[in-house]
Point group: C2
Chain length 357, copies 2
Amino acid sequence: MRADARLRRPRSGSTLFRNRARRKCLNIPCGPKPFLFRSGVLSESSPILVFGHLCPDTDSVISALAAAELLNGRGIPAEAAMPGPLTPESAFVLRRFSLPCPPRVDSAAGRRVALVDFSNAGQGPADLREADIAAVFDHHRCDGDIASRAPELWLAPVACCATLLAGLFRFYDVVLPPGLAGGMLCAILSDTSLFKSSAATPQDLRAAEDLARRAGVADIAALGADLLTAKADISGCTMRELVLRDFKDFTMNGRIVGVGQLEMPDITPVEPLKGGLLAACAELAAEGRHSVMLAVTDLGREGSLILAASPRPDLFELAFGRPLHGGEAWIAGMISRKSDMVRPLRKAFESLGRNPD
Amino acid sequence: MRADARLRRPRSGSTLFRNRARRKCLNIPCGPKPFLFRSGVLSESSPILVFGHLCPDTDSVISALAAAELLNGRGIPAEAAMPGPLTPESAFVLRRFSLPCPPRVDSAAGRRVALVDFSNAGQGPADLREADIAAVFDHHRCDGDIASRAPELWLAPVACCATLLAGLFRFYDVVLPPGLAGGMLCAILSDTSLFKSSAATPQDLRAAEDLARRAGVADIAALGADLLTAKADISGCTMRELVLRDFKDFTMNGRIVGVGQLEMPDITPVEPLKGGLLAACAELAAEGRHSVMLAVTDLGREGSLILAASPRPDLFELAFGRPLHGGEAWIAGMISRKSDMVRPLRKAFESLGRNPD
């Protein structure tokens, strides 16, 4: 019991003493024993490895940095990591706001970890189930049994994990450095496709305004344009790298379905690559997935060209209301992977029932 | 798809238009189609019934009112309810801040619900598993499979659910009425035993300060004293009612263990009732529980008298480091049910392994 009580004491004494002083100001009667504030149940061990999903997008990389900063600010030692290579967009963001690149991590077994931007075991390192899940910060629906093992869980229906984290910096009264605020602003602009995505919520917009102020970004639209240019950079990449750039596996009615997305102001440069991208989708599908789809999103025309490798193209027609011709279809209005792609696709897969297909 | 898009539009148009205007101020390029903000995935159906655990304490009653207010403020119709009778403390709080008493609810089957202050199916109405869980706001460890079904989950390691909700009013930019702020302040004072509990965190204290300001409460200590007086009112109650006043069932290593708590500035008036209270514990244990414990907490002496009806009193000795004599023991320093009672008791039960006992 005594040892436990000592462990609960925050590592940095400053919060403790500031709060004892505050309590005195409130005229709350003090007990005879020293008043122990806990900075959270996580303080019981350390350090925590914080990372997002495989094929990390900007939100995953930046939210890992942000969550590590938040945990450290609460007196809980944590360090950011990254289970995949940096995309050109994320590289631009780190450079633009002088942020450190989180080191690569490919294994979680035996580590104490915090997850950002995902809570689905299939989207993390293969040995994630052997990790001790200390916290989850996510903006997706809770999927599987990983999240429920965490003593703290923040799963909010917003478009970007950085929006949730921005709110938590206020909740925990932790100072948000300007550079990190700039990175988080970029994560929101990226995840909402500059607020064109139907997944965007008023909370995302409010967080973006606040983060821009903290980061000293006067022209959000100009930053968004630079971000899009970086995101659309496909030079020097293999077809497989392009499909995997922003790629996630989803379990839909027992089948693994991979969904990648490439966002561009104008998708004309991708037209000649369609055959190669479709072949890369088929290659990834052959590696143990039921289907693989790449959405090449045209932010100017506000829609997506989908390329799908699947033994059941009819499911894609059922989900999106248009038949595939040679594995491809143009879907107007489709921008958000979460709302416009995964949700209807999941429903279509549910129509399969439990039968093998 | 079109019908879905319409559903996503917030019910009150004001947020939508305010945000479109904001977006223009940000100079973010507008698409050709109207810009749809979603107020959250919950807006897809209505209304949501919001309630806390069985034998509701002040935090459960007030957090249900607060979460319903928050959801309504987000454009998601919700109404507070209460799965048990009002305690004298909660009655005092509702009266003191002119808050409505949530109606009684004993069934959740087929309803869309939001849970506050618990996420363990065993602590809710018997048919909770037949409900559609829309959201969970809790400050306890996620227990069981109920919470992971919710599209939004807020599980924070703080001492009081009202602390979490106070943060969410800021996150969602929803106005917090002064009366409700006063009620939430009381919930925090109650759950932290006027900040004497080891479960209290800096977030709880900060929320209390802010809520006091909003509620116009100048003297928090005086309010706390009134609250304690109401909490300690045991007049006209049966022994069973006293054990059940603030009572929760926990599943510990497969066994159901009920833990009740009575908090008083001075427990002298309870001394003559010990035999009756122990008999009520035994009666509740005989109704399908492995063990039942009542902690009578003396906030002046900062400790608890425990009364336990159990076939394995040795587990209580293992948990709390003192033997039970005639089913009772005084444990100095024990105030928080969550940290000081349930946590060590759970560990002691885990030592049983899977063997029947």
